[in-house]
Each structure stands twice: as structure tokens, then as C-alpha cells.
């Protein structure tokens, strides 16, 4: 089967051969493409970027992301969690807002320096 690697903007077009002997990947410019194809077939993972509301002046919302990938199936659970979160003070960029979100071992961090 054909697959497009989403790890980086190169967007390598992968040829993936999934047989009893395992997964064979061709067409990836780097190793991350092979790893991507492996997990995409078994348990697709995504990093998620979004925003949370704040009560801080000049920042109605502040941008956030997961500091790693979470299962694709949990994206909307994460989005719901974010919609229930309010940030009430200025925090430096990279601050963890939600630790171990949805028991994924991944944190939600801010991605804007609030000046």
C-alpha cells in the first residue's frame, strides 16, 4: 500500500509492504519514515496543537501542543480536556499545563511566550 509520511514537510511517499514477515517500507528519505509506517499500521499517533482560553490581559487564548504524540483515537478527548481548561496567569513558553494528559505519558505545554 501507499502512504504519505507526515513526520516532516518532505511528505515522503512510502511504499509499505505488510506481510507475515513484517512491515517493509520503501521511499522514505530518513529512518523516521519507516517508524511512521510501522505505527501508522498498528496504532497511529499524532501530535496535537490547539489553544486554551486564558484570563490574562491581551491573551484571550494561548497556543498549546502535546510534547509528544498521542494515539490518534484520543485526539477529541484531548480537545475536550483543553476546552475545559482555563489559564489564569502568565506563564513562560513551554510551561506544562496538563501533565500526563489522558494517561498517555504526554504533557500539554504552552507554545507562546506571553509578554
Amino acid at each position: 500500500m501507499e502512504m504519505v509520511c507526515i513526520v516532516c514537510p518532505n511528505g515522503c511517499r512510502l511504499k509499505v509492504d505488510n506481510s507475515a514477515e513484517g512491515v517493509k517500507v520503501a521511499g522514505a528519505k530518513c529512518k523516521r519514515g519507516e517508524a511512521f509506517a510501522q505505527t501508522e499500521l498498528t496504532n497511529p499517533m499524532r501530535s496535537v496543537t490547539s489553544s486554551v482560553k486564558t484570563t490574562v490581559k491581551n491573551y484571550p487564548v494561548v497556543s498549546v501542543r502535546t510534547d509528544g504524540e498521542i494515539p490518534k483515537s484520543k485526539i477529541f478527548d484531548l480537545i475536550k480536556e483543553l476546552s475545559e481548561f482555563t489559564l489564569d496567569k502568565k506563564v513562560p513558553i513551554g510551561t506544562i499545563l496538563i501533565k500526563n494528559v489522558l494517561n498517555t505519558g504526554i504533557n500539554v505545554i504552552t507554545t507562546t511566550e506571553m509578554i
Binding site: V4, C5, I6, V7, C8, P9, G11, R13, R46, S47, T49, S50, S51, K53, P60, V61, S63, R65, K72, I79, I93, G94, T111, T112, E113, I115
Partner: protein
């Protein structure tokens, strides 16, 4: 009037990189019209920035922050909430700008245009119909959602499959809107393939090719849009009209380099890139004026925006030198190349050249010839117009003063 060696207009990724680099050798003023540095990156909260440069997948604000922290360590003077209203050429450049302290006049030896690009609007693509609210450019919708925390609407049609349109499809879905579909007049998507996958396919958002919005309806607020099939010249086909009820139309129909100041200064533009014609130092055909980033040509990776900013900033901070310019010609299915000129009095061993194919191509060979002699070639399995290519060409061993320089793309 205060004098600077270099003045940079625009505090986005290109201007930041240019300022940091120029400040190593020169006095620098950076003029930014918004309250914060970072340009469009501030609202591009999705990730994928900096893969080339930092080997990390950063969000836009994080990428910008790396440069803002860097610029804070330099002696670059930064003027925020400042808008340039006039640039006049004397023996140097005289700028007038409006800022919080009123009107200020300054002069400089070198001027760097890092003004970014603009979105095409509804008028730019000739959509007929009512003048109702609910029609946004993708960047405006992105600003509302990501900066203001305001939703532009609930039922959304997106016209154009450029990257911002695709990213907004996912973003609006996250925030609870129903994205009814992305419509693209061309037979192929405009955005990066990975964005088609991670922004549309992941969320079952349909992508319709060879279709466009031909009319909008709504008394006050948008109520519905008319979609038509288009032929191979992108003309709507009568009889194929279809009505879709929606309250929001997001236009992601392309970006055009911002060149108002360049035009005022009669800087020669390339009709293909719609940005200035430059040499390998990002200097335009007007001595002392540089262009970089999306003002030069619309990039798809910010990493290369920063790179061209550094090229411009580095060169602008050096003393004036007489230039000897020769054109780089293009042959075959190349949409454009940057730089379009070479200065033979500047280093020629590492000429960073960007190009785009003019159509979807497979099995291509890029060849650079000087007077018939091949100085560089590279093979490509696949080339797509939305995906810009970058090559570094060494011209130093070629005799550039006699032969024509031709970059061509041919079937392998």
C-alpha cells in the same frame, strides 16, 4: 535624522533573521507594524516548523520565539506598532514611519524589505453575489480562532487547498465547527501532501477537485454558496451548479508577495514570483535594496524564509561593492527560480537556488549549464508545484563572464 547602516521593514521570520545577521557588522533598526514580533508565525500554532533548521517539529510561535530570544541579545533597535508611510531615495534612503511617539524620520544605507505576503481575497478571484458577512480569508479566520479565541462560524466551506486552508479545516474542526468540504478549482491539491493527510483524511473532511465557489448568498450573514465544476482552464461549467448551505466561507486561494514599498521605489519585480528580481545576496536590481522571505517569493517552509533573511541581512551589513550582474535563464517546466541574477563580484561557490516545477512531473533532471558546460545536475523522482525545491550550486569554477547561464528541467 538618526542614521542606521541597515533598516529592515517587517519583524516576521525573514526580518528577524535578517536583523540578527546584519547586527553582527552594522547598526540596525527593525520596524514592525504589530505589537509583537513574529509576523504570521504568531497565529500559526500548528507544528512542523523548524524541521530543516532545528531538527524539531515546532509550532509557529515557538519557532519565532527562538529568533526573538536571539534578537534580544543583539543591539538591534526594534520599533513596534510602527508603519512605514514613505521611503525616498536620496544618496541614501529616507524613511518616514508612524509609531507610538508620532511621526519619525530616519535614514539608512541599506534597506531590507521583509514585508511578507498577502492573501488573495474574494475580489481577487471574482466570486459573484451578495456582500454578506461570513466570508473570510484563511489567515483572517486563523487570527480570529488562534489569537482572539473567536469562532468565525459553525458550518464552513473552504475554497482553495493551500496549506492554510487545510490547516484551518482541521483547526475549525477541533474548535467544534462542521467543515463541509475543501473545494479546489485546480485538478490537483495546492497544499503539501502531508497536510492533505493529517488535516483532511484524518478527520474525514472531503476534498473536491476541479470545483469552485461561483456565488455567495446571504441577506446579512452568509446563508449558502453556489459551487460549480470547472473545465481544464478553470472556467465554471454552466449547468453544474450546486447549492451548499453554510454560514462561513474561508478563502485559501493563494498568497502574493507584499510589494507596495518595492513598487514605490520602482524595484523591478519578477512577474512569475511576483516578488523582486534579486541576485544571490537577495539584493534587488536597485542598489542597496534587499528583499527576503515571502516578500521575495512565497515559500512553503519557514526554514527557507529565515535562510533568505540571513542572506539579505549578512550581505546588507557589508560595505558597498560594485556589482556585475548576469541573468540566470530558465528552460523547461520550471515555474520560477530565485535568484534570477548572479553578481559575479560576489562569492559564487554556494549559490542557494530555489525553484518550483510548473506542473506535476516525474523522472526529471535539473541541469545547470554555463556556456553549454554542465556545472550542476540533480535527478528528481517527483516534482510538484506546491513543493519548493532548494539546491546549492557551485559556479566558482565556471567562466560566467562569457557563457549564458541556463537552468533547465528535462525528462530523464
Amino acid at each position: 535624522m538618526k542614521h542606521y547602516d541597515v533598516i529592515i521593514i517587517g519583524g516576521g521570520p525573514a526580518g528577524l533573521a535578517a536583523a540578527i545577521r546584519a547586527s553582527k557588522n552594522a547598526s540596525v533598526l527593525l520596524i514592525e507594524r504589530e505589537a509583537r514580533l513574529g509576523g504570521i508565525l504568531k497565529q500559526c500554532i500548528h507544528d512542523g516548523f523548524g524541521v530543516v533548521r532545528f531538527g524539531e517539529k515546532l509550532s509557529g510561535p515557538e519557532y519565532a520565539d527562538r529568533f526573538i530570544k536571539e534578537i534580544d541579545k543583539t543591539n538591534v533597535e526594534i520599533s513596534l506598532l510602527s508603519f512605514v508611510t514613505d521611503v525616498t531615495r536620496t544618496d541614501k534612503y529616507e524613511l518616514t514611519y508612524v509609531c507610538e511617539n508620532g511621526v519619525r524620520r530616519v535614514t539608512c544605507d541599506k534597506l531590507i524589505l521583509a514585508t511578507g505576503c498577502r492573501e488573495r481575497t474574494k475580489n481577487g478571484i471574482f466570486i459573484q453575489g451578495d456582500r454578506c458577512s461570513g466570508v473570510y480569508t484563511a489567515g483572517a479566520a486563523q487570527n480570529l480562532v488562534n489569537m482572539m479565541g473567536v469562532m468565525p462560524g459553525k458550518r464552513v466551506v473552504i475554497l482553495g487547498s493551500g496549506d492554510i486552508g487545510l490547516i484551518m479545516a482541521r483547526r475549525l474542526t477541533f474548535e467544534g465547527a462542521e467543515v463541509l468540504g475543501v473545494y479546489e478549482a485546480k485538478p490537483t491539491p495546492s497544499g503539501l501532501t502531508r497536510n492533505i493527510h493529517q488535516c483532511l483524511r484524518d478527520f474525514d473532511i472531503p476534498l473536491y477537485l476541479s470545483k469552485t465557489v461561483t456565488r455567495v448568498f446571504g441577506a446579512n450573514r452568509l446563508e449558502k454558496v453556489e459551487i460549480s465544476d470547472v473545465d481544464d482552464k478553470m472556467r465554471p461549467i454552466p449547468g453544474t451548479e450546486q447549492i451548499i448551505e453554510c454560514d462561513t466561507l474561508v478563502l485559501a486561494v493563494g498568497l502574493i508577495p507584499e510589494n507596495e514599498l518595492a513598487n514605490d521605489l520602482s524595484v523591478k519585480l519578477d512577474y512569475k514570483t511576483k516578488g523582486a528580481i534579486v541576485d544571490q545576496n537577495c539584493q534587488t536590481l536597485s542598489d542597496g535594496i534587499y528583499a527576503c522571505g515571502n516578500a521575495l517569493h512565497v515559500n512553503d517552509l519557514v526554514d527557507y524564509v529565515s535562510e533568505s533573511g540571513e542572506t539579505a541581512g549578512g550581505n546588507a551589513s557589508l560595505p558597498n561593492k560594485e556589482r556585475k550582474l548576469v541573468p540566470v535563464e530558465v528552460k523547461g517546466k520550471i515555474m520560477y527560480i530565485v535568484p534570477q541574477m548572479l553578481d559575479l563580484n560576489s562569492p559564487l561557490d554556494k549559490v542557494i537556488t530555489y525553484f518550483r516545477a510548473s506542473e506535476d512531473l516525474t523522472g526529471q533532471k535539473l541541469t545547470v549549464k554555463v556556456g553549454g558546460q554542465t556545472v550542476f545536475n540533480k535527478s528528481y523522482l517527483k516534482l510538484l508545484p506546491p513543493e519548493m525545491e532548494r539546491v546549492v550550486i557551485d559556479y566558482s569554477k565556471a567562466d560566467l563572464s562569457s557563457g549564458r547561464i541556463v537552468i533547465s528541467l528535462e525528462d530523464k
